[in-house]
């Protein structure tokens, strides 16, 4: 029943062969360029803890877009990260959206051939995993199908990145099934564990996944036990 677009399918086919954060980000970017009709893509982290860094960029122009945003401290990528809302600017020279980041828009037009930009936040609830930036040299919006694919891609990419960061040992378990990763109990449990151990919700998820892995249980079962207070995480747990 689920309708997966071409890029989402490509992402799900990415084999988990020991790829790291940057390697995974690059594969996601390449899948976007191959499947979404854009000229380049980049993924950047914008979190307070990790600071700003570009994990992957498919070419120098994509890299330049990230640099400009960090230098000018404004742009579609930051807007997407701040609001949790995707940004789509089909024509940088004719869009009211650029009023949010006038310096960035002017710099891009002056220093690069980029004429359309799209930014999609990578998020899991309140966890911000970065932003996918896409660009086109010719003005033009993504069509409805491409945009839908881009949004599901961002969702899947966020799960892949979070999965990698919270990897218990090997294998994704049931993690990459969106109907599991979006279950309310898992989010509630992550919130509870984040208070039990005074850590972030992303770290809490990592602890929950590790616990599920060690005890050979499903993540959702562990989450149920946490919410029902049958399982409480303590500092000195395994």
């Amino acid at each position: 029943m689920a309708e997966f677009g071409v890029v989402t399918r490509a992402l799900l086919a990415i084999a988990r062969d020991g790829v790291d954060d940057r390697g995974l980000a690059m594969r996601i970017c390449r899948a976007c360029v191959d499947g979404l009709g854009v000229d380049g893509a980049a993924i950047s982290l914008l979190t307070a803890s990790v600071g700003r860094q570009t994990l992957a960029a498919t070419d120098e122009t994509a890299d330049l877009l990230e640099d400009l945003q960090f230098t000018l401290n404004e742009g579609p990528c930051m807007q997407a990260a701040r609001t949790g809302h995707p940004v789509s600017v089909a024509d940088l020279q004719h869009s009211s959206e650029v009023a949010h980041w006038p310096m960035f828009a002017a710099a891009v037009i002056e220093r690069s051939p980029v004429r359309a930009v799209f930014a999609l936040p990578l998020q899991w609830g309140a966890v911000n995993l970065g932003v996918v930036d896409l660009y086109r040299r010719e003005p033009g919006a993504l069509n409805d199908e491409q945009w839908r694919d881009a949004i599901t891609t961002a969702d899947t990419a966020a799960l892949l990145m979070l999965g990698l960061r919270t990897e218990p040992d090997e294998g994704q378990g049931d993690w990459l099934d969106p109907t599991v990763a979006h279950r309310a109990e898992i989010h509630q449990a992550a919130g509870m564990v984040s208070v039990q151990l005074d850590i972030s919700t992303a770290e809490a998820l990592a602890r929950m996944r590790a616990h599920a892995f060690v005890h050979n249980r499903l993540l959702i079962q562990v989450a149920h036990d946490i919410v029902a207070r049958r399982l409480v995480f303590t500092q000195d747990m395994e």
Binding site: T8, I151, H187, A190, V193
Partner: protein, 259 residues
């Protein structure tokens, strides 16, 4: 019942209906909170219609349904049962973009065996009425009404329920943006992620205050309402521990039943 009584009841109901729509219209101002709007809609559905519980499900960009708002935990559980068993009236309603009425769930085993079995095991509802949230002939979600007794929903109530569903659609998509197809998926994804932020915040508050998730949600919602802040924004700050949680959990903040 005397005619005077029935006349008074009638006007009470009309007053309640107009109050519901005025409140919903008030919610549709700039920067409004979609999840809060949907929660209010679920509450109004229970107050205005012969329903014991109500819930709203939305399809994500993959057209997978997800539960986003409910009048209470029982409605939420009913929706999860359907999503988990991948069958049930709200899925059929979503796929057909047409209302699905189940006057007696005891006779639903042929159509949805897994769901019917799970419902009868719980034993709290006997009938379900699923109304589509429609946009251009396609459903983006469904408003589900659950009743403890079997029986059809009167025509007038169905129409009112459908009107509430239309308000939900407008609320999710924002009226002015409704003609751009891309916005639909964008808005849905935003609403769905807001729901996840709220779930994480419920966990934080539940652990911090020693509450159940439902009571944690009530506190969060009450604080957001009485301080006029967006529920999702407050939830984001709670998860980031960028907020004094005792303020939300303070005795003065004890949740009151919705008006």
């Amino acid at each position: 019942m005397s005619r005077a009584d029935s006349g008074r009841l009638h006007s009470d109901r009309e007053e309640l209906i107009s109050r519901a729509f005025v409140t919903l219209a008030d919610t549709l101002v700039d920067e409004y909170d979609v999840i809060e709007l949907l929660n209010r809609l679920a509450d109004f559905a229970v107050q205005l219609l012969p329903a014991d519980a109500a819930g709203i499900v939305l399809g994500d960009a993959r057209r997978e349904l997800r539960a986003v708002a409910a009048s209470d935990e029982a409605a939420h559980v009913m929706e999860l049962l359907q999503l988990q068993s991948d069958q049930g009236p709200c899925l059929d309603c979503f796929q057909s973009a047409a209302p699905v009425q189940v006057a007696d769930l005891a006779h639903a085993a042929d159509r949805w065996p897994t769901f019917a079995a799970a419902v009868s095991q719980r034993g709290n509802f006997r009938s379900v009425h699923a109304l589509p949230l429609r946009l251009r002939g396609r459903a983006i979600g469904a408003l589900n009404l659950f009743r403890a007794v079997p029986g059809p929903l009167p025509e007038a109530d169905l129409a009112l329920g459908q009107a509430l569903a239309e308000v939900a659609t407008i609320g999710i998509l924002q009226e002015r943006a409704i003609h751009r197809g891309e916005v639909v998926n964008e808005q849905l994804q935003l609403a769905l992620n807001s729901r996840l932020i709220i779930e994480q915040a419920k966990g934080v508050l539940a652990q911090y205050g020693g509450l159940g998730p439902a009571a944690a949600f009530d506190s969060l919602r009450h604080y957001a309402r009485s301080h006029n802040v967006k529920l999702a924004e407050l939830a984001r700050r709670v998860v980031a521990k960028d907020f004094d949680l005792t303020e939300i959990l303070a005795p003065g903040q004890a949740p009151h039943p919705p008006q």
